[in-house]
Point group: C3
Chain length 346, copies 3
């Protein structure tokens, strides 16, 4: 469906394949929160608690699950959260013109530009860059030599994409991120640190999203790779030679050290770290602020520093909480045994 | 008092309502450290230890507390630290011209600009932006559509203020920060992550200061809010839909996940994290590197991962330190009991 | 040796003072990984395991240690890792032209520029800046008033160097870093936070390297100092008045709070933190994610939160792991003592 300013309730219901109860002609011009529903918008109520809130606040239209009833206009779907994501995209407007090159942009002669590309103010596109159809690059971006950017990729202001980086289709890179800075590689020579030249590159596969002020370093000789569909939040550090699989979620301020391998569908929660050269197998979840210090098997939930299976970490934490009491118990046992010993000596 | 290159000791004493002992005509042209006092400057000695240092190093003029004596020129005040802050501001010179628009700046036609505004080189101001009187925007800044910036706000180089952000009066935003990037919101659809469009905005209230390379994400449907007078350090992550109260201190590299509520006068120390949807009540202090995993009550000092009352955390840590010894004690008790049991069997 | 596109094996062997076995005329045009050797490149095999890999994959030329044998062309050296660093530098090509000023750069009249300086597109150089011979500054950089930059220093795109900063010779500053933003200094005045003006500067000594999106704050009255040869990774925070010694390694996402003193040859691993006003003596190593809360002595390996000697931290962790079992043991002892007491009462 094409993005418009407003839709009828029926149009929205059809778009998300939901069952509409209520006025099919109601005009909806946006999305709002169930805690503060705005007139002529649709809200999202995943469960009964939120649905009650919507009822109380008299929301105009509610996306909800199949089995519920309410005195409101509803669109019932199998997966309300997913339906909400789809509807939200209808009202989203990317902050880029359709096409054109700002006068103040600096585009090298050898650059190849496909159709419907936009290049913003003061943006620098270096030699031998290729920009696929529909690419939009905001203001103040630097794109180094030989960079290839796939179709319909969006690059927000003041981002830096250093030389030789390969960026896929439908990638989104948010403001201030730096793709392809040198990895942190030195050899100690006496007390001095000798730099190891960072000769590799960065490969960002299709449909990756990268948050603001995130840094992804180039490989030492090969590429640092971010797999298809992986989403990376703000202020994340990805070291050189790292390989991240497909459809991972890497939350804000995570640090992934050099040469780490992360397989598909892994979630790394905020401020967690992974020590260099370790691997994390597919479908794992790593809790916030954990530190991964050894290879992790697939499909488990890990937490702690050092990270271990979450069930073990919880057991450890429970035991630690009991330690002050345990110290008292042991003191008491010592006294009792001393008493018994005295008793027996008599 | 107007900023000048130099002041007499008497002028300074009057400005901070202090009692001057010593030469009222002494010329003071700056501030220096008590550990390395520079000629013709004023230093700050909060306590006797620092005052002795100032005496030993023969400082020219010392701001100190009411009850002390020293063979130096002194300005005695009730709150020396506050007096020092005021004096330091006299010698501060912001790195912005009074007004003007750099030739290379790109200002859209519909922009409203009040008096005494400065716009630096290569800075981009998009459609429908409003810049209040006295706003100074440095070089290389990107200001998106519909942004409103209040009076006397300062924006340092290479900052990005994305569309629809509302910035108050006397706000300071340091270099490289990104205000209003998309929040990190997805819905899993099979293995794939579907993006939830981030349709909200960011609201920065008056007198907020934001450090360098910090990121504050736009809300999902409403605004992410930073309350009046709150100060945020460098490399901080503030997720979507977060609401931070007034006069908080958020120290470097803190991460505040989506939809967190922080009330007034809260201090979050460096590298701490707050898990999504949690709340922190007013006047709380959260220690460095803590992880807040549940709602916190007002007026307490919290620490640890998971964060708990600091007194409890200290008790836990003390107990943990005793655990190796405890293990030995229990081993000894086991042996003694075995001995007793043998004894009794005889 | 001058950088060329390719070298003979003999040229490389001479350059790193190694013993060549094999074809001296073999043409080598790059470096690749032992796990994936590319034709006409040299790889690096520090130990027998890697050498076997190189043999199996039939690498063209291998840098390795003195005592080994293999059916491959080898260059044997005393320190293969160091030799590799040197060779890698031969194939490194910095992404800057030799000299020139981009038309869109904005250079103030009073700027002093030595020979062979390059200034990139849209870069702003403010009044009274001095740029030493061979300095290269990429696109989109902001250099504030009175900044001095030594010889052959490289500054990558979209970096901000604020006023009064002093940068040494052969320094490298990666994209998006901010040098000299205000330190985080306030005094509480009732509930309000009064700003302490940050009047100092930043001093970066020779041969320092600073990663992408890192922030180094200016001192309050004096300079924040980064010592000669120290290497700093991405997204690191260095607070005001910090003094870091020579040849330190500060890994990604480390936070060093205000007024910390770090002596020479210290390694601070990823995501570690150092609390304000603490000192770390020379040759120390601080493990990833540690929090330094007191002064640390020289030459030790520290870890944990709070950081302590690593041997103690390991002992603590081992004890904590045993705590669940210890609780059971104590329970058992309590039962046994109760039995004994009953026995004795009879």
């Amino acid at each position: 469906m094409k993005n418009k300013k407003a839709y009828t309730a029926l149009e929205l219901a059809k778009f998300i394949e939901g069952d509409l109860t209520g006025d099919p002609e109601r005009i909806i011009s946006g999305v709002s929160s169930v805690e503060n529903p705005v007139e002529n918008t649709v809200v999202f109520a995943e469960n009964d608690k939120f649905l009650k809130k919507a009822e109380k606040l008299n929301a105009d239209l509610v996306i909800t699950k199949k089995e519920v009833e309410a005195k409101l206009d509803l669109i019932k779907v199998a997966n309300p959260r997913l339906a909400y994501a789809k509807i939200s995209s209808l009202f989203s407007k990317i902050p880029f013109p359709e096409k054109g090159k700002a006068k103040s942009s600096q585009i090298a002669d050898s650059v190849q530009i496909e159709e419907n590309v936009f290049i913003g103010e003061n943006t620098v596109i270096s030699e031998n860059v290729r920009l696929g159809a529909g690419v939009k690059i905001a203001a103040g971006v630097y794109v180094g030599e030989n960079v290839k950017i796939g179709e319909n990729t969006l690059i927000y202001p003041n981002t830096v994409i250093e030389k030789d980086s390969i960026i896929g289709d439908r990638v989104i890179i948010h403001s201030g991120s730096v793709i392809g800075a040198d990895g942190f590689g030195y050899v100690q020579n006496g007390k001095k640190q000798e730099k190891i030249a960072q000769l590799g590159s960065v490969l960002i596969e299709d449909e990756v999203e990268i948050g603001a002020n995130t840094t992804i370093d180039r490989g030492t000789t090969k590429a640092t790779v971010i797999g298809k569909g992986t989403k990376i939040d703000n202020l994340v550090q990805i070291g050189h030679n790292v390989k991240i699989g497909e459809n991972c979620l890497i939350v804000a301020q995570v640090g992934i050290a050099g040469s780490v391998q992360v397989e598909d569908n892994v979630t790394v929660a905020g401020q967690a770290g992974i020590v260099d050269h370790k691997s994390v197998a597919e479908d794992s979840i790593i809790a916030a602020k954990s530190l991964v210090t050894k290879d992790l098997k697939s499909g488990e939930f890990y937490s702690g520093n050092p990270a271990q299976k979450h069930s073990q970490e919880l057991r450890k934490q429970a035991a630690v909480r009991k330690t002050p009491k345990l110290i008292k118990k042991v003191k008491k046992l010592e006294n009792e045994i001393n008493k018994i010993k005295k008793e027996m000596d008599r």
